[in-house]
Structures are given as structure tokens and as C-alpha cells.
Symmetry: C2
Subunit: 345 residues, 2 copies
């Protein structure tokens, strides 16, 4: 690998800073491909579709696809671009639907479709995006792509249904929490990495390892995302802290807190999650800190990142697995940064 | 054809009465297949899925599939059963989403998912049903099924978005009306007939003809459905008359009425559709009758049925096209019955 300087297992600092540079030509092609898809929709709804595509999103799943099937910075593979478009379009469709359910007015500093065009249009536009993603998936010579993508889509939706059903339930256990994030987040990360390697014709063992990497990275990412609801800087993360407590969503920190608190306080937290008590965010933030739970959650994320890395470790010397390794370092660094950002309540 | 007595072009009366008998073993298999799919979903949502499947619906699209690829009353083809499950599941998913948008509490005498489980769950459950239908579609050896199904899904959603955008617009023209119903209804009818014949290995010309039949029958069916919003018996049809006028949906009878009325009355109808005037249903019903527009709409439906029939006429002697012909007779008869049901306002 010409662009990698070491495979020591801690992530190459040179690679880390160069990661976005490496991705640039690939994400540029993806952007152009997505824009070209707007014309596949009927004229009247093209503006809506264009708004959804142009989100300024982080393109995490596409990045995983490009790195899993890496062929060099300037070797942009049209197959991977199309796969990235499929997976990103599914992700964008879920966001359009999420914004209806969350009654969100703003996403990434822009008004949501649900807000500007109404819920009915948001439901249908999400459906149309889903359908178009599936159509693109059927354009691959092998049905493996559309099959895996369809299953992932169903799992993402199922994970979100379970989460919706569980809202306000203060007794969610750890196994259930992990099962839901596996369905709603890890599944699509897994498919992105698996199919990225697959379409690049990597050998079967590497394809499976990349998928395994994706799954654990997805779990890590979702726990991280849930943790940022409680700590970190509101401006940096771009969301209001404590929303999950206030809306009865039992995330990992809150589950651990509930199980560590003395009975009476645990009862108050339960009542809060059940919506029977006003959420006193500051109280719970101080308890989380005092009981070392932030640290414990941080460790849970790092543990998933380690599992992700272990999956691809056998391939570090003979492939571009180092790129995946390095992308996991980005999340690791963000977790570390969160820790130091934390405002003591 | 052993079960057909004539191919005179008016639909065999014997076949007509025997149509449901012929379909029974096929629809029974479809029902069993759909029920067996419930277990593909995560445990917690199986009840929801089961509720959606068990709708007591008319199974129009599956019937078209079975007849397009007909192999005999007791020759139930598993490929056609699976295709029928794909198309019916997509249809059921659209109904789950429709009920959110229409804020419907009841469908076919049962509370809707949106009503009993909330909008969030209804959005996600519709998505999960869509995804599962796509997954089933990917299980065919040829990607033609999933490709055509994905395009049809996108068109159905697009048609519904256009209809949503046009609600309250009193100036919709005929071409736009026909374009929307082609997307939202005729497309899935077309795909049902086309793929039914295709999977039964019929010759290419018949496959195309069956698709063409489906498209025109779909247009006819949607105009009929729109007409029943204005005439017919509320109990028989199971819906409140005049909902389209009241909610600003310009259907064929209302478009024709608007274009036939003297300017001042047309202005009042426009204002009603735009939501600036309370809908005086009885007034508009009497105008529709007085100007002969019910008759004209009826003729538009029959004209589409004739086009559907023309598509398959060349095949009436050499295939089971007579079954499709006879199914079109069912709609024809319903249109005639509507006419005689009409309560003079």
C-alpha cells in the first residue's frame, strides 16, 4: 500500500490525517451520481429529492464501502459508487421518515421535508427514495446486492419499530438495547462493508471479515451517538442534550445508571423514563458522572471498536484493511475527545 | 380451455360465475404463504404484520397474476404465489402509509395501524413490509422481478406524492389526472399481469399484451374507485360520499363538471376544491347528474376496459386470455350496477 506508512495496530497518524484526501475523488463521484439520479424521478418531485440528497451528511456508510473495496485513491470503481448510492439513499430515506416520527423541524441546520412539505409528502418521498435505492440495487449483475440490501432495510425498520415500542419502558435490559442497535444501525454498516469488499472481488474470508468489522463499528457508532445525547458540547454535536431521558428512550448510559442507583433513585429514573416525572437532566448527568458510567460507556464503545479491529487484523499485512482500521481510529478519537469535552455538571 | 364455454367477446356468463371458484385454491395458497411470512419478522412485530396481512381485501392484484399466468384451477404455481405475495405486500404497505396520510381510523371495518399503534409505528411497519416484499422479489432466479417491482413501487409513491401536491388545486387538467392514476394504480396492475405471464413462460407477445391489459384495467379501476366517492350506496361501498370534494381532490367527475359548468358555478366549485368554500355535496351531485357527467365518466371507464380487452383479443383463441377478459367483465358489471344504484339527489 503506497499511501500507508505502518500497520502497527494503533492507526497510522499519517493515514488518519490523509483519510479525507483519499476519499475525496470517491465521494465526489458519489455526489455526482446521486445528483444524476434526481432526473430519474418525475419532474414535480425532483426538487424534493434534490433537497434530501444534498444533506451535507457525513457519508459514513459510503466511506466504509469505498475503503472495504479499496482500489486506490484515483481508482474510483463505478460499482462501488453505485453501491454507495444505494446504501446512502436508504439511509437518507430513513432520515426522512425519522423526522416525521421525531416531529423534527430541523436536520443539519435545514428544515426537514416533514416540516416544509408536510407529513404525507415525507412518508411518500421516503418510500420513493427506498424504491429507487432498490431499483439501483437490482442493476447489479448478481442478486446478492438487492437481497442483502432488502434484508438490511427490513432490519433497520424493525430496529426502529422496536425502539418506538420501547419508548417509555424503563425496564429495557442490556441485551434488548444491543439487539435494537444491531438491527437499526449495525446491519447497514455490516452490509456496506461486506458488499464493498464483495463487489471489489476480494476473497471470501476478507469479505466476511469486512462485514464483521462493519457490524461492530456500527454498534460502537450507535452507542457513541446515544452517549452524545448526554455529554459533549451542544453546538459541536448540534443537538439538545438530554432528549433521550426526556422522551423515555433507555440508552446504554441510562440503563447502566438505572441498574447502579440505589432503589429509590432508580425508581425516580424509571418514573422519568416512563414520563411520569419531569426529566431533571442536570441531576441525572451528575449521577452519571459520579457513578463512573460515562467512563463505562466509553469503554463499551472502545470494546466494540476493538472487536471490529480484531475481525480485520489477520488481513492488515496483505490488503488495504489498514484503511478500515484507520477509520475506526477516527471514532476512537471522537470518543476520547468527548471525554475531555465533557462539561462537569 | 376446459373451463370456458365461449370466446364471444362479451365475457362468458358461466366463467363469470365460476371465476371465484377457479381462484379459490390459488388465493388459499397465497393466504397460507402470506401467513408463513409473518415468522420472517422479529417476534415483537409479528402481530402487527399479521394484522396487516389479514385484511379481508379483495386481492385484485393477485387474481390478475394468477389469471395472467394461468395453468389450471388445481395447478397452483409456487412462483405465481410468491409473486402475488410480493405485489400484495407492496399494496398492503401502501395502505398502511395511506392511512397515516388520510388520518383514517378505520379500513375495511378494522382500526388502522396508524390509529392503534400510532403514526411512527405505521410509517416503520409500512417500510418493513416494503422491504420484505423486495426481499421476496430478490428470491426469483431473474432480477427482472425485483427490478420491475422496484420501479412500480417508486411510481406508486410518486403518483401519490403528485396527488398530495395537487390536493386543493382546482385547476388540475385531464392529462394530469390520467398521469397520476397511471402512476399510482395502473403501474402495479401492469406489473402484476406482465410478470404473471412472464413467470408462467408465456410467449413475449402475450406477456406484453397482458401487461397492456393490466395497465388499462388499472386506469379503469381507479376511475371507478374515484366515481364511487360520488355515487352509489354508502353502505355498499363502505365509505362516506363526497370526501374528495370536501378534501380538494379533483377526480375525473369533478374535472369534467368544472369544465362544463357556467363560469360562476365553475368558480364556486373551484373555490370549494381550494377549500375556500364549504363543500355542498348535494348541490354538486345534482349538477353532475343534470349535466350527464356520471354517464360520461362511466363511458370513460368502459372505454378503458375496451382498450384492456383489445390488448388481449388476439390471444383469446389460443390461451387463457379469456380469464382476463372475464375479470374485466366483473368491473364492467360493477360500473353498470353503480349506475342503477345511483340515488337521485
Amino acid at each position: 500500500m503506497s499511501h500507508a506508512s505502518q500497520t502497527t495496530g494503533q492507526g497510522s497518524p499519517k493515514l488518519l490525517s490523509g483519510l479525507f484526501q483519499l476519499l475525496k475523488p470517491h465521494l465526489r463521484e458519489l455526489g455526482a451520481f446521486l445528483v444524476s439520479q434526481v432526473d430519474s424521478f418525475e419532474e414535480e418531485i425532483r426538487d424534493y429529492v434534490a433537497d434530501c440528497i444534498d444533506t451535507g451528511g457525513k457519508r459514513i456508510r459510503p466511506s466504509l464501502i469505498f475503503f472495504s473495496g479499496w482500489q486506490g485513491k484515483d481508482a474510483v470503481d463505478p460499482k462501488l459508487v453505485k453501491l454507495a448510492a444505494v446504501v446512502e439513499t436508504i439511509h437518507l430515506a430513513t432520515l426522512v421518515h425519522d423526522d416525521i416520527m421525531d416531529e423534527a423541524d430541523i436536520r443539519r441546520n435545514r428544515p426537514t421535508v416533514a416540516k416544509t412539505r408536510g407529513n404525507a409528502t415525507a412518508v411518500l418521498l421516503g418510500d420513493a427514495l427506498f424504491s429507487h435505492a432498490v431499483y439501483l440495487a437490482t442493476q447489479f449483475p448478481t442478486s446478492e446486492v438487492s437481497e442483502k440490501v432488502a434484508i438490511a432495510m427490513r432490519n433497520v425498520c424493525t430496529g426502529e419499530i422496536l425502539q418506538t415500542m420501547q419508548r417509555g419502558d424503563p425496564n429495557i435490559d442490556l441485551a434488548t438495547y444491543y439487539r435494537v442497535i444491531d438491527l437499526k444501525t449495525a446491519e447497514l454498516f455490516q452490509v456496506a462493508c461486506y458488499l464493498g469488499a464483495r463487489l471489489a472481488n476480494r476473497d471470501t474470508r476478507y469479505v466476511a471479515a469486512a462485514g464483521e468489522f462493519g457490524r461492530h463499528l456500527g454498534v460502537a457508532y450507535q452507542i457513541y451517538d446515544d452517549l452524545t445525547d448526554l455529554i459533549g458540547s451542544e453546538e459541536k454535536i448540534g443537538k439538545t442534550l438530554g432528549t433521550d431521558i426526556a422522551t423515555g428512550k433507555a440508552t446504554l448510559p441510562l440503563i447502566l445508571l438505572r441498574d447502579r442507583l440505589p432503589a429509590s433513585e432508580a425508581g425516580l429514573l424509571r418514573a422519568t423514563l416512563a414520563g411520569e416525572q419531569t426529566a431533571e437532566i442536570d441531576l441525572w448527568l451528575s449521577k452519571l458522572a459520579a457513578l463512573g458510567i460515562i467512563e463505562e460507556v466509553r469503554e463499551a464503545i472502545l470494546s466494540e471498536i476493538r472487536k471490529a479491529r480484531r475481525a480485520i487484523e489477520p488481513f492488515l499485512d496483505q490488503s488495504d484493511a489498514e484503511l478500515l482500521y484507520t477509520i475506526s481510529q477516527l471514532l476512537w478519537n471522537q470518543v476520547e475527545a468527548l471525554q475531555s469535552d465533557r462539561s462537569d455538571p
